[in-house]
């Protein structure tokens, strides 16, 4: 099993519903977020200006520097390749924050490091993640890459895609559809 997410940059309108859904579902403290929108504008004004949005979160990388550098093993990978943090093992040293090329982690006000969990409590019950379920344009697609029939496998087969900063070498599992 290998959970992954695809994100259709053509469909996203940057409404931030995924951000709010995650904050509500996971009790993310005020002023913090586990997922976020990146707005990119490129081109030459006024002729070829293009804008697109990306909904980003922890990439649940296959090669996980955050797990490698954690001195206590609080950062770990669970079944399906989901990267999680155990709060009562985390000493808040910041090694995982330094080792994440995507800046996907933050220090929770209570002191431990917090991040996206791919809503593992929801997928254990056969549901989708909160951000996927709430997306009004259905631009987020979640599923198991090992299952060729899963929505994410199909999306990656049908469309062209890219990942962010592949040169960081972490094999990120959040794919952006072109």
């Amino acid at each position: 099993m290998r959970y992954a997410m695809a994100m259709d940059t053509r469909k996203c309108v940057g409404c931030s519903d995924c951000v709010v859904a995650c904050q509500t579902e996971n009790n993310v403290p005020l002023g913090f977020c586990r997922d976020w929108i990146v707005e990119s504008v490129r081109g030459t004004y006024p002729d070829t200006v293009k804008m697109h949005f990306k909904s980003e979160r922890c990439m649940h990388c296959e090669n996980t520097p955050c797990v490698r550098t954690c001195p206590t093993g609080a950062s770990h990978v669970i079944e399906g390749g989901i990267v999680k943090v155990t709060p009562h093992e985390c000493i808040g040293c910041g090694a995982c924050i330094e080792s994440c090329p995507y800046d996907a982690r933050y220090v929770h006000p209570e002191g431990y490091v917090d991040k996206c969990t791919f809503c593992d409590h929801r997928i254990a019950q056969g549901m989708n993640t909160a951000c996927v379920d709430v997306c009004p344009t259905s631009c987020l697609i979640f599923g198991d890459l090992d299952d060729p029939k899963s929505p994410v496998s199909k999306a990656l087969e049908e469309k062209d895609w890219y990942v962010i900063a592949p040169e960081a070498g972490t094999k990120p599992q959040l794919y952006f559809l072109k």
Binding site: I37, V41, R42
Partner: protein, 333 residues
Amino acid sequence: MEEIINVSGRAVPHIYPHLEIWGAPIALYLFFGGLAAGLLFFASFFYLKGKADTMPMTVKVAPIIAPIIIILGLMLLLYDLHHILYFWQLFLHFRIESPMSWGAWTLSVIMVPAILWPLSYLDDIIEYLKENKPNCKMTGLLSWANDLIAKLPLIPWVLEIFVKNRNLVAYFTIFLSIVLGVYTGILLSAFNARPLWNTAILGPLFLTSGVSTAAALLMWMSNNPKERTLYSKIDLMLIAIELFFIIHMFMGMLSSGVAQVEAAQLLLGGPFTVVFWVFIVGLGLVLPAILEIMELRGFHIPIAIPAFLILMGGLLFRFIMVYAGQASGFGIH
């Protein structure tokens, strides 16, 4: 003009400034770690060379600084933890892949010889202070500590065993001090997300820099002209090695991927250029080297000047590496 503007939803006050999570305490911790490693290295090395009596400062007196700054460094490290009440988790796990884990273990293990070594020489330290610093208030405190230790159970017995096996301990301490010195660099180089740090040469570079700050401190503290000249020569050699490593660090980065090139440019024209080249390389390495060469050629130069410059250079080097490293990245936003 082709323009790309990226605006990240993470650019909120609670998250972005705070992701630059390491600051002054870590830089100081790395400095103290390197300095302690150097002091313990020289003490054990010259003890094994049979110089305990001809170089009393190195072997007997100066090592008392090591446990003090190791404890100070560990306190800074604890202060920097955000989940501090769970710090003991660090000592429930040993993870060889995580430099912070084996580094914390190394520091704890090296604490044993670092404390016992000066304790076993306490008589010599007190005698040295009485001879050279008659007004020093530390002498009274140390004599009191010495009397107290003699009365305590177990500790005199441990010290006796320690003194009997000092040769073995010295070999063990040399090994551990090198591990500690390398660790201060490897701690940073383990993070591939920060390209400025992500180079294996950081380990030997931090080791050399740490040992050179220790040599500078010993040169400063010693009142024996032969010992001073020896450390002048050692420092000159270490400065040459450091410059060699720094050049290689840049050569490696500039011939690597764009993230590494951009990281190197932080120090080659970027915001950290002046501090790095003027204060660290210029005032912290080249100038003290010149002063020491002049000293060895017979000019009279107060030893405090090159020693202070080297110590300041070593401290600044760690600050710059900690801050510039966190400014480097893969430019994703």
